[in-house]
Point group: C2
Chain length 259, copies 2
């Protein structure tokens, strides 16, 4: 893969980005918390949560209701136990819809769907919510998973870590199967995804805790695809796509000599 993008990088420097993580440095909404929401009678306040507990509950929740449920459960179980209503009445069973890329369809990783829904539940500022979710998704694309190693896992052998460069269940699981040699229907793959639910639950809680304390500032996680979006994204010359996913997964033939 050749990352010779000099011409597009130059164009990028002269172009406004519109939305996106790279844009965060230009469209910085600064520190944000839910203090404003609290003063307006919003019952869906976030309360600081214990990060290792979210990680553990995310893992355990996976085995109760799948990946999206697991990540969501990591925070909601704690909120319900510590603070009662309205958390204890939230119909958390709903989140089972996100399992395996939504009902097994292999689209968006359910861990991310659950984490993004949590952020959407608590952060009602459109710009900050989107920045937080974009950071979560970009972190997922660029990180080797799983990180969590629960002492009570049914899998005693080492679970290999892989980076998928994608937020899609299909690619994330396929990449892991290809490198680990395990089948997609194996108990090892299942536990790999359970650990991933722990990882995303931990990350989401960490971000929400920072936001609660007024210390959240969107990370400037750049992507090779920022260059693609300089032309194809909002405000670019072509302006014919939506999205912030890593383009290289499907368009690696466009990464060099594109002009």
């Amino acid at each position: 893969m050749d990352y010779n993008l000099t011409r597009r990088q130059m164009i990028r420097l002269g172009t406004s980005f519109g939305m996106g993580l790279a844009g965060a440095v230009f469209f910085d909404h600064g520190l944000s918390s839910n203090a404003a929401d609290a003063s307006q009678g919003n019952p869906w306040q976030y309360h600081e949560l214990d990060i290792p507990t979210s990680e553990k509950l995310g893992y355990k929740g996976f085995y109760k209701g799948g990946c999206a449920y697991g990540t969501f459960y990591g925070a909601m179980f704690q909120l319900s136990r510590k603070h009662g209503e309205p958390y204890s009445s939230f119909p958390i069973h709903m989140m089972k819809f996100g399992t395996s890329g939504v009902a097994g369809y292999g689209s968006l990783c359910g861990c991310l769907n659950g984490g993004a829904a949590l952020i959407g539940l608590f952060c009602q500022d459109d710009a900050v919510r989107n920045q937080m979710i974009q950071e979560l998704l970009r972190w997922y694309e660029q990180t080797k998973f799983p990180i969590y190693k629960p002492s009570f896992s049914p899998i005693e052998t080492e679970i290999v870590q892989t980076k998928s460069n994608s937020v899609l269940c299909h690619i994330s699981v396929g990449e892991w199967c290809g490198i680990s040699g395990y089948k997609a229907s194996s108990k090892e793959r299942l536990d790999r995804c359970a650990r991933l639910a722990g990882d995303v639950s931990k990350k989401t809680t960490d971000m929400l805790n920072s936001w609660l304390k007024g210390g959240y500032l969107a990370a400037n996680l750049s992507s090779i695809s920022d260059d693609c979006r300089a032309c194809h994204g909002r405000g670019g010359e072509v302006d014919d796509i939506k999205g912030l996913m890593d383009c290289s997964i499907c368009h690696d033939d466009k990464l060099s000599d594109h002009y």
Copy 2:
């Protein structure tokens, strides 16, 4: 594109599918309703809704909170108005997280994320819920959108219909921009997606109404990719992928002479 899949089609005939729409003919859960749930004190009962109203509210909801919010709003607004609690307390603002493929990321189309969440909220039978959501997503892949033509749209010109063969926002919007010639940031593209929220809201309500009345039977919407999954899916010889998406979008080089 060459669909010469005869050898794999033959293999498919001798292989169990595991999950998926094609599998529905083998794993038919028959008629299903929420009558069982109602008898067990579940407060999240579905009530029959007016389909044209869902279509209209899905469109209008898009302009209030984006695509996922719009589709969800199509049903939840009606339930809240007609039946009060618990619908009127549902934190529907949460669904804004799904906008433009989740916070603008271009992954799963938000209309589908909203529709799938609605099905997950009301249908608590894992197998039936997954079948319904899979049917919704397959229908989306194979249908030309938008269908809805609101008389009160701000766009007076014809909005071209396109079929994306994908559940991803990025591909759905990209395909439409390519054929229509409009930019992704145009008001025509925005209204195209608002109409799509109306379409998915209508379809979701139609499916839930059938399910409520005990008349829901998963449609057997086949896909060219059923042949891919005969080997690569659960129970297949390779068993290295998750998902039910149309494979041809990213793997068209594998559609012929694959052996």
